[in-house]
Amino acid sequence: MGALALVVQRIANALRLVLRTPSGRIGLPILLVHFILATIGPWLAPYSATEFQQPLVETQLQPPSWEFLFGTDQFGRDILSRVMSGATTLIAVSVSGAALGIALGAAIGMSSGYRGGRIDEIVMRVMDGLMSFPSLLLALLVMAMLGNRPAPIEALQSNWQNILIVITIGVVTLPRVARVIRSVTLSLKTLEFVQSARLRGEGSAYIIFREILPNTLPVLGVEASVRLSYAILTISSLGFLGLGVQPPSPDWGLMLAQSRQFLGHAPWVAMAPAGAIASLVVGVNLVSDGVKQASGLPQEATT
């Protein structure tokens, strides 16, 4: 419990620091808008995301107007409403995917780095192996491997596709986080307070969670923000390639993919989803910049 409270307090402090940086000042509000939309967007939206506005003859592919602010698509669906509803799944899935990857990656990185030796060697080779694939390719491979399979439990069936994406993002995120956290752990391991804890006879679990984890938090914060933006990019790319969610879900990547055939005479169909993806990732990246500045870590571009 104590550790959890500490973590929460750290995060609150970090957010305050981030808000003081110029990037954070712009980025956090953008993110906030997106998160608000993700939670209450579907209720705020003027129309349903999937319902056709009848009669189709009159509502099909209408340019932006007061009635339909961003225009309508081929099925007379209000694009604004679709974009507003699309945030929910995307953000939920990318946050959970990134969180899964970060949690597992941090756990593996810390224990592997702390234990050292042969196991560490093997674990790191596996991580290297996973990292020799561009993340999109790795995601495609994992999706292809897991896709087309029914859910193991009936109760998961309705959300199975989303769970698959969360797992995929987790797998893609894991090795990169593990690597970074391992190197931090390696340097922390030699420090006095860890050594003394060990001399006190504390167990490895205690040392890892009480001594090492709190000190990796700044790095973990930076990693979290960077990984989140990659998760969003990867998920919307999967949607665009048609390997993510299925129509008629208001997924931004999928919407953009389907809008391409109307580029010539109805470009507004592409505009809103493109803008939505761009602003979300810009927001995350600005916050990520802010986190880096606030944490005082070197501002390297990480990939």
Binding site: L140, S229, S237
Partner: protein
């Protein structure tokens, strides 16, 4: 140096072995019976058995893995299930196409990115710097498919300057119609451009604060000379690393870009091999990409060490 090289190469070897094993396991788990999929409705029991024997699917997995690896070492990747041709015939042309595209993107983008980064880094917090930083941020944030679709909308659909589709006509190479490369290259370059620029800017800012640059400026050396002689070489270092380490990442970008623009390169082939469950092709391409990634990282490190003395010299 030699010891370093040997150590690195053996690490790469181990990693690739792990990767090849992983790829093999993954393709084993892929849903669907390969023989069934190839024969479709003509799948009678005898034909299935015959095809399984022909593809060695009746042998245990580790035997197949060893024979596959053996083939790979000899340069024989087997036949594509879908195209029914040797993979070694299909892939080289695709590699060439993707390489041309990637190089075109680098040639187009790197000088501009470095120049913009230097310019912004020399005079931080000016209007120009803000513009550059913003462009960089947006560049990093825009997924390739957004950039690609937007470019298509503006440059092809509206202005009609460039062809919207980058398919390659029979008997020609990408160079016959280099204009087909422009939009894919611009899209591919978007994110990398932003990285290089941001890195260069950060490094230039750092180098500008070092004593020897300050001394040089105070000595009254012309600013241009200071930048060209002292700042640029040092600032270039991380750029080279970034280009090399991101080469593998660029391959990921190719998957999207080539599919947006119908460009017949490695990325398109890869996506198709996943979609059509063309297992041998998928195995070959994955291994190829992992190897490229590993070696480009090695090159990055070598370049870094090779250029390092110049820092001290400067």
């Amino acid at each position: 140096m030699l010891r370093f090289l040997i150590a690195r190469l053996s690490t790469i070897g181990v990693t690739l072995l792990v990767v090849s094993g992983a790829i093999f396991v993954v393709t084993e788990i892929l849903p669907g019976d390969v023989a069934q999929m190839m024969l479709k409705k003509e799948a009678t029991e005898e034909r299935l058995a015959a095809l399984r024997a022909e593809l060695n699917l009746d042998r245990p997995a580790h035997v197949r893995y060893l024979s596959w690896i053996g083939g790979v070492v000899r340069g024989d990747f087997g036949d594509s299930y879908v195209q029914k041709r040797p993979i070694s015939e299909i892939v080289p042309r695709r590699i060439a196409h993707s390489l041309v595209l990637a190089l075109f993107a680098l040639v187009l983008g790197v000088p501009v990115a470095v120049a913009a980064g230097v310019w912004a880094g020399v005079r931080p917090d000016t209007l120009w710097d803000r513009v550059v930083s913003t462009v960089g941020l947006v560049g990093i944030s825009l997924p390739e498919f957004v950039t690609g679709v937007m470019l298509m909308l503006v440059l092809a659909s509206t202005l009609h300057w460039l062809p919207p589709s980058s398919h390659i006509l029979a008997g020609t190479t990408p160079w016959t119609r280099p204009e087909i490369l422009v939009m894919p290259a611009l899209t591919l370059m978007g994110v990398l451009f932003a990285y290089i620029m941001r890195m260069t800017r950060a490094n230039v800012m750092e180098v500008m604060q070092t004593p020897y640059v300050r001394t040089a400026v105070l000595k009254g050396l012309p600013m241009r000379r200071v930048i060209l002689r002292h700042v640029l070489p040092n600032a270039m270092l991380p750029t080279i690393t970034i280009i090399a380490t991101n080469f593998g990442w660029m391959l990921g970008g190719l998957i999207i870009v080539e599919n947006v623009f119908s460009y017949p390169g490695l990325g398109q082939l890869l996506l198709r091999s996943i979609q059509t469950r063309d297992v041998p092709l998928l195995e070959a391409l994955s291994l190829l990409i992992a190897a490229t990634y590993a070696f480009s990282n090695l090159v990055a490190d070598l370049a870094y060490t090779a250029l390092n003395p110049r820092i001290r010299y400067a």
